[in-house]
């Protein structure tokens, strides 16, 4: 791996930017590996990286049906926070935030992690009560979160309209350690670091079947680029996880919905933080390129189309324009959709499955990006040890049978 540094940049700059090498190889798939990861998004690439670096499993491959980071890793609104209500969730998401804080140095890749603060607006008495409960629960769990009055919220984000609007701002919960990161760089950084450790990243390779031996354990996959054998397979295929897992006869409590986002034309830096409003349903931040990155809600129906209805995005824009009147004359540059896999309790599943050698990391719903390093780290542990890391031990598939839900869905007024 060619290390990146200020000196390297200067040296290449003086020699006409020649001599940069490709950041990861594009190998042909081998006939067999020690482990396979299905899904070349942040969670899958990260899992491969941690398998190689921390568990010394280097004869492994990541299979991606398109190009890496072309799914939800490249389609989300890049918000990172860990202010979840329940102990299990707070531990999982804060594990991720702690890894984010050093990720650029660890990967030698600038993922542009920016702890600019995530502010969640309360518009009703119920919101205010729920957010204050979150603030207290988070602080007990060592996760920073604080309650702001409307004036304090406006001081933190001066563009915010706390005046006479349909759903007035009654206050806000602020996590100062929250923020954003460059989503593409997360996929590329993990891919480059994993490749340097010997991991094969195989793009344009769609899994079409899962092979199992006489005892029922996995022994490999059928792909559009041939059969690849491996005794351990980790699936991190987000919205398409149901489709992959059915190939091994496993039915999951997942439904796949379109989730849309959009960006404005780029403007000079105007927006200092991340603002989320779950009640009137919009979230917004400004990318380092200058575009305002705006997230909408999910469409009502399950779908695999990677697009949704225009009324969903226009609803989000109405909310943005009311909260930030100065954006009313901004033009939107483009919008898109991603397919998110939603569990009944809105918490992920990171676990072994009833099929020996098959592991699944899914159900991140609308909020998987923030968890990327933590999710990848504990998923790699689970694959390497054939048992969950203490952090992901509660996030089993069996919790739905046993009634041990981690019910962030019922922890109202929180988008996921």
């Amino acid at each position: 791996m060619q290390p990146f540094s200020g000196l390297a940049l200067l040296r290449r700059g003086l020699s006409g930017q020649r001599g940069w090498t490709t950041q990861w190889r594009s190998p042909e798939p081998k006939a067999a590996y020690d482990a396979l990861i299905v899904g070349g998004g942040g969670h899958g690439l990260g899992a491969a990286y941690y398998l190689a670096r921390e568990h010394h499993l280097t004869n492994i491959a990541v299979l991606e049906k398109g190009w890496i980071g072309g799914g939800n890793t490249g389609r989300n609104t890049t918000i990172i926070r860990s202010n979840y209500l329940f102990d299990e969730s707070a531990a999982l998401y804060d594990h991720a935030v702690r890894l984010w804080e050093h990720l650029s140095q660890v990967l030698n890749y600038n993922v542009m992690f920016s702890q600019r603060g995530v502010m969640m607006l309360a518009h009703t008495v119920h919101d205010a009560q729920v957010f204050k409960r979150h603030v207290h629960a988070n602080r007990v769990n060592g996760v920073d979160n604080e309650w702001l009055t409307p004036a304090e919220a406006k001081a933190f984000c001066p563009l915010l309209n706390i005046g006479n609007i349909r759903y007035p701002v009654l206050g806000a919960a602020l996590q100062r350690r929250g923020g954003t990161a460059r989503h593409d760089a997360v996929a590329w950084g993990y891919a480059r670091a994993a490749d340097a450790l010997g991991v094969d990243i195989i793009e344009n390779c769609e899994v079409t079947g899962i092979r199992r031996d006489a005892g029922g354990a996995v022994e490999g996959v059928e792909t559009t680029r041939g059969t690849i054998r491996a005794p351990r397979i980790g699936v991190a295929a987000s919205g398409h996880t149901s489709v992959i897992m059915k190939m091994a006869g496993i039915e999951l409590p997942l439904e796949s919905y379109p989730l849309q986002a959009l960006v404005s034309e780029p403007v000079k830096p105007v927006f200092p933080c991340v603002v989320m409003s779950n009640t009137i349903h919009a979230y917004i931040s400004q990318s380092d390129k200058g575009e305002l990155v705006i997230g909408a809600g999910t469409d009502a129906y399950t779908s695999y189309t990677q697009r949704g209805g225009l009324h969903i995005t226009s609803h989000a824009l109405e909310a943005i324009c009311e909260l930030f009147p100065m954006f009313r004359r901004l033009r939107m540059l483009r919008n898109w959709g991603g397919i998110v896999d939603v569990t009944p309790d809105r918490s992920p599943i990171i676990a072994r499955t009833p099929v020996p050698g098959l592991y699944v990391n899914c159900g991140w719903g609308t909020g998987g990006f923030k968890a990327t390093p933590g999710s990848a780290h504990v998923f790699a542990w689970t694959i390497a040890h054939d048992e969950p890391h203490p952090i992901n031990a509660p996030f089993t598939l069996e919790r739905f049978r046993d009634g041990r839900l981690i019910d962030e869905a019922a922890a109202a007024a929180v988008a996921h």
Binding site: S242, V243, S256, T302, Y304, G309, P344, F400
Partner: protein, 97 residues
């Protein structure tokens, strides 16, 4: 926005409807008799079909009635709508993308 053919009212915009999830999920007749896994399957497990999906819709801002639909989840193209209690109609192969 989808255009949905309510079997009672005809084609109306999606905004008049509420999605009701997968159709033909039968509630166990004797919940106390089934295993925890069977009950969990009834509550939580869904086909999440990539392809032709049988699903419920309710024409909330119209006739107010539930009905079922067949929709291709790879295109969002509706293949048929039919009344509750009727079996899913046989439909031609989904329209290619």
């Amino acid at each position: 926005m989808l255009l949905i053919d309510c079997p009672y009212c005809g084609e109306r915009p999606e905004l008049e409807f509420v999605y009701g999830g997968q159709a033909h999920v039968a509630r166990p007749a004797q919940p106390a008799q089934v295993s925890a896994q069977q009950w969990a399957d009834y509550l939580y497990r869904r086909d999440n079909t990539r392809g032709v999906h049988a699903e419920r819709w309710r024409h909330t801002h119209g006739c107010g009635r539930f009905f079922n639909a067949l929709r291709d989840t790879t295109t969002d193209h509706f293949l048929a709508t039919y009344k509750v209690g009727e079996p899913p109609p046989t439909v031609a192969a989904p329209v290619p993308r």
